[in-house]
Amino acid sequence: MFNLIKYDFKSKSKIFLTLILLFVIENIYVIIKSGDSFNVNEILFVNMIFMFLIFVCFSFFLNLTSFKNHLSPQPGYMIFMGNISRKEYILTKILTFFLESFFIGTFIVTVFLLEMRNVNVDVNFYSSFFDVQNGDISVLVIQGFKIIFYLSVQYLTLITIFMLSIIIRNVLLKNTKFKGIITFIFANVLFFLRNYLYEILNLSFYRGVNFRNSMFSNISSYIILVDVLYLFIIVYTLIYLMERKLDI
């Protein structure tokens, strides 16, 4: 498992380091400017753009590309002709994605909070941002980690949906025309199903509160559990198809 993570990281380390460098430069700029002309909203906006860039470019796009490449001879043969079982491979991937997104999320939120301190935002701002009544720092930290964990699980669900779609394409649609479009549509259907499930369960349990409008305020253990359950079903299907049906 460790070796898989090591070689996976090695193959994308250049892009990762470039993005980290860009993020550091951006934050130095923000910190310099924050005492001068930047306000809270501007800092939030700039950080969100970078968060999006890192998540979409690095974590999502790069991880999906690397997964797709692993299913082709180069470098798939190198990985799968050894003693690594396909189940171990998938579980390692899931763990890596989760740790990556959790690490990046923690990193971004920490930098963001430090910047907020720099522009002298009082504790009430954090309380309202994290939607907690009590401005106690320990409550804020726990709520912050809850949000990061929640977003990491969301990210994991999204990326595994696309992984499943890629596997289905390789198993069933190898000789089909428009396989790329079909795969994309299939991924969106799975994604829609998940959101639909949320809406139904949320309406039942929160009596009509719109989930999208209360994304941060209603992060309960129950919602995380639903996500984890959905994730479990996808991962189980992924492992089954990888082990029983997929030819590299």
Binding site: P73, M78, G82, N83, N175
Partner: protein, 229 residues
């Protein structure tokens, strides 16, 4: 018996690639798996190392049902490029060291050193012949009972072919069983113990090379032409 394959079948959608494939391999022999392109040679090897899933059939390795543990005892050299694009020769060696407990790094460096390939050179910049020799050196540096070499002479010039054949023959001993798949049988004929003729996903016959030469009064290469012409 090292390996026993019973009624192995593999189909890709409607196309049958292996059909009632039966085979028995003994320890310490060098087998030539010969047949034209598309006869199922690579598919068979890829099933053995778990890259391709069989449709049906039974595989026994050293008497045990085929599983991940038994698969680990097979070293495979694919015909395709399979290294990460960023890898240098030394990275490829280290990858094998990290993933295979039976890999002998010193031996690999020695074998690769004899090929005039620099360890710091990028794998992607190597010539076809150098890449093949690197792949074979890495594969043969594992200490396992069975080696599968898939079309090791594909795209290789005649001078490099001789070097590859001598590299393989230098590694032979009674503990190792090697299957070499190729349609370039002339180059390998001298080192083969037995030859397996494959056609349309089935083994046509499995013969001792010396017996076959005496029986047919021709070289294996000439006999190959008579079968597949």
């Amino acid at each position: 018996m090292l390996l026993e394959v019973k009624n192995l079948k593999k189909g890709f959608f409607k196309k049958k690639v292996l059909n009632n494939f039966n085979l028995q391999l003994k320890k310490g022999y060098i087998y030539g798996l010969v047949g034209p392109n598309g006869s199922g040679k690579s598919t068979f090897m890829k099933i053995l190392v778990g890259l391709i899933q069989k449709t049906s059939g039974e595989i026994l390795f050293q008497g045990e049902n085929y599983n991940l543990k038994t698969r680990y005892n097979i070293a495979y050299q694919p015909t395709e490029d399979y290294f990460y694009k960023w890898m240098k020769v030394i990275d490829a060696i280290n990858f094998y060291r990290d993933f295979y407990k039976d890999f002998n790094k010193e031996k690999a460096i020695k074998l690769i050193g004899g090929m005039q390939v620099a360890l710091e050179e990028k794998v992607s910049s190597l010539s076809t012949g150098q890449k093949v020799r690197l792949k074979i050196a890495l594969t043969l540096s594992r200490d396992v009972p069975l080696y599968l070499l898939d079309e090791p002479l594909n795209g290789v010039d005649p001078v490099s072919r001789d070097k590859i054949v001598s590299l393989i023959s230098s590694e032979l001993n009674e503990k190792k069983t090697i299957i070499i798949s190729s349609h370039l049988i002339k180059e390998f004929e001298v080192i083969l113990d037995r030859v397996l003729f494959l056609k349309n996903g089935e083994i046509l016959f499995d013969k001792d090379c010396e017996e076959l030469r005496l029986e047919k009064n021709m070289s294996i290469n000439d006999f190959y032409k008579t079968i597949y012409d």
